[in-house]
């Protein structure tokens, strides 16, 4: 491990970068794959925030991440119904 940083910080950075690349270039190129890949950087960011010991930030981030997923699912369903 790199000295001076918590292991959560390093791991979170790796997960965040890899997940962002996976969101940018999804393998079957549709909205559903992109939405599932969007969960990976969310948990990477959660690991990153874990290394700062802020309980309230973690709670808020988890709740907002799920709410935004719900909104994205509704948007995708509306878009597919219109198309």
């Amino acid at each position: 491990m790199i000295a001076g940083y918590a292991p959560e910080f390093i791991l979170g950075l790796v997960v965040l970068v890899a997940g962002t690349i996976a969101v940018a270039f999804p393998q079957p190129k549709n909205y559903l794959t992109r939405l599932i890949n969007l969960e990976i950087p969310a948990f990477g960011l959660l690991l990153l925030m874990l290394s700062y010991n802020e309980a309230l930030a973690l709670l808020t981030f988890g709740a907002i991440s799920v709410l935004s997923t719900f909104i994205y699912v509704r948007v995708i369903q509306k878009k597919e119904a219109a198309a």
Binding site: L32, N37, V66, F70, V73, Q77
Partner: protein, 77 residues
């Protein structure tokens, strides 16, 4: 935290991340995402944030259920 447990959780996170990126089927991706979430919990509990662990354990499956709603719409149409 002990080195071996930390290494095991890190391996779980990395396995979940890689297989969630590589797999093509949506259900396989969701199962891999579940491995990734399982690997995060020992890190949270080790810091002593038990309230965050309880809330996240109850909130994180809802995200999977919302994504499954989209999967079902796609399969039936």
């Amino acid at each position: 935290m002990d080195e071996i447990i930390m290494a095991a959780s890190a391996i779980l996170i990395l396995i979940g991340m890689i297989s969630a990126i590589v797999n093509l089927d949506p259900f396989d991706k969701l199962i891999s995402l579940s491995i990734l979430i399982s690997g995060i919990f020992p890190f949270i509990v080790d810091r002593g944030l038990l309230d965050v662990a309880i809330a996240l354990a109850l909130i994180a499956p809802l995200s999977t259920v919302f994504i499954l709603m989209a999967c079902q719409k796609r399969a039936s149409s």
